[in-house]
Symmetry: C2
Subunit: 389 residues, 2 copies
């Protein structure tokens, strides 16, 4: 059985400990994404060396490929991918509802065609919980109904209602409660009333944790954080809160400010494969000519394996030569930055120095636009204002 | 100054120790190939963990990209790629002479166009030695003239003469003798007289080591090993012998049998990127449907990181899903096999058990064709017969 303890608070920011079947996760935490049972480009030994406490994988992708059978034959997802620490799997709701024109929703579930081979599949709340339990993951997400924004009020309402009904069915289908914690997903778009209705229905189910879905889908940063903060305020204090699909360095800092505990995003590894380095001087494109002779490390303030041992000139060469090692090393560094960021955030909250750390980190990492967003009256204050319904 | 000691002999097979500026290399040894200053798909930490004692890089490729300047700015090739053990660079002769129709040979050197952008470059013996010394490599190869087989006698003769003349110029241009050992390359195609002429001219230069070039270019396996054994017999006992571009497991065993000490080949990493696993049960193609549910390791007799922790089913999934980790893990395993193979060969020669070990290894690893090649009268015997000029 999972448990969560908030050990310290500083403003809305929380410092927590989440105990799961495969280990303890200290929050706030960034979860590297391993969509297809691999954090792209890295061995599990490297992901462990990075200090990742929990990684994310994806039900939709694993269902399609390799399917349940090989994973079960290997003894579950942990053994299949040789990752011994906790795993969270997304329910696949987001992916299925992204299949425009290739999926059909009814009250019972959703019928869709695979993006790989066009084969037909059906997701139901029960089937998705059953699949995730068979994988043996530490956190299973309930099947939710995602709506693309902007959306009609009617569609948003139906998404909120079905998501609640499906979460109830997920809870009923949830049997391996010692091994797997079930999280619900709050929907409702950018509408505060619907967010409140969705949160209320899910909280009534008394689940081990709650996610905020349907954000980070194109809305502005102030909109996103106003909603995240508002939604977080509707969730129980004693349960972990997970903002799905977030995000950049600045997004993560703002999400912690909003009272969120867990984050995931493909951003660091996707950037890593595209020569984009996350640094304390902003984002660098290592394909630019200026780095060809640059003997500095990617980030002079970073102590990761890559920054201790390699130069920008070497990384620039690897990307130009189309060598895999470029993507490998840069994915490693980018993940190191986000994991170090959340480690520092935890320490700052613990010592009651959150606001000062936040402002300095936003200043250090922020691109100019982000800095402007955060400047007076400040995103935090604006979020707080918006949060009064 | 490099030094080489033959510590044990068993038949023609030799067990030696080669001391170089960046460390000691125990021979016979397989050298992983890092053409563009990276062993494809692996971090230097992984290559080190594999127990690689020396790696190979390529003058032609480094000259083209990234060029001399970034490598020198980073303090040489070792620092550039963060590899602290010995490095050998091929001279680039093989690559330049592969540029059919885009290169022009004269007595002084060779003019050619880059395969990357068509830019014009000129290799001379002096320029190539100078470049390799600037990289700070432990072993520099002299610039040789390669001829595509089958070739006219006249072309082979010219290749042998020019290769000898260029080796003399390389030796004259060779200044950093403490840091970099210069190896000559014996040419001569499949013609014993020309091989003898080439070896004689090079041996007269008293170089720290000798390579056999112009083999493994399409001739049959018996032809190759007859020539390798013959050429090896013409080289001084007290100098290391390097058979360029070899090879598969069976090729390496036969080359050791022929009295060769060093080998390199892209075979293990190229196979690794193409789902082909080198195992003690032959080569496996992990894309085949039969491995989808196979919970065995790649090779049950292998103790490498990959075989200890991952199944064929997982590797099969990674290749199907197009995930980089498939190539990474399989390159790692394939290199582990070749490095373990040469470690076992060293041990067998030391304890005077070479012939028994060789026969068992050929039986274990050999595909059926290779086994047939080696069967009575036996490649070793046939090589020995052919070797009498």
């Amino acid at each position: 059985m999972s448990s969560f303890t908030v050990r310290a608070r500083d403003g809305a920011a929380r410092r927590g400990t989440l105990r799961l079947a495969h280990g303890v996760v200290e929050t706030p935490i960034f979860m590297p994404v391993g969509t297809a049972a691999t954090v792209k480009g890295l061995t599990p030994a490297e992901v462990e060396a990075l200090g990742a406490q929990i990684i994310l994988s994806n039900t939709y992708h694993l269902w399609m490929r390799p399917g349940r059978e090989p994973i079960e034959a290997c003894g579950g997802l942990h053994r299949f991918m040789h990752w011994e620490r906790p795993i969270l799997t997304d329910s696949g709701g987001f992916q299925v509802f992204s299949l425009q024109g290739r999926r059909k929703l009814d009250d019972d579930g959703v019928l869709f065609q695979s993006h790989i081979d066009g084969s037909r599949h059906r997701f139901t709340p029960e089937g998705i919980v059953n699949f995730q339990e068979a994988l043996g993951v530490d956190i299973a997400m309930a099947l939710d109904v995602c709506v693309k924004l902007p959306a009609k009020r009617h569609d948003l309402e139906r998404s909120v209602e079905l998501t609640a009904a499906w979460a109830r069915r997920c809870k009923e289908a949830w049997t391996r409660r010692e091994a797997t914690a079930l999280f619900g997903i709050v929907q409702g778009g950018l509408d505060r009333d619907l967010r409140a209705r969705s949160a209320e229905a899910l909280v009534a189910l008394d689940l081990p944790g709650y996610a905020i879905g349907g954000l980070s889908v194109g809305e502005t940063r102030p909109e996103m954080f106003a909603l995240a903060r508002y939604t977080a305020s509707l969730l129980p204090e004693g349960r972990p809160r997970y903002l799905m699909g977030v995000g950049t360095v600045v997004d993560i800092i703002l999400a912690i400010e909003a009272g969120i505990d867990m984050f995931d995003c493909v951003y660091p590894t996707r950037c890593g494969r595209n020569a984009r380095a996350i640094t304390r001087s902003g984002e660098l494109n290592l394909r630019m000519a200026r780095y060809k002779l640059d003997t500095a490390p990617i980030d002079a303030h970073c102590t990761c394996y890559v920054c201790r041992n390699f130069t920008r000139a070497y990384l620039a060469h690897l990307f130009r030569a189309g060598e895999m090692l470029g993507a490998i090393l840069l994915s490693y560094h980018n993940l190191a930055v986000l994991l170090e960021l959340t480690a520092q955030a935890r320490a700052a909250i613990e010592r009651g120095a959150w606001a000062a750390w936040r402002d300095e980190a936003l200043h250090t990492f922020g691109d100019e636009q982000a800095a402007a967003t955060v400047a007076a009256p400040g995103i935090a204050e604006r979020c707080a204002e918006h949060a009064r319904p």
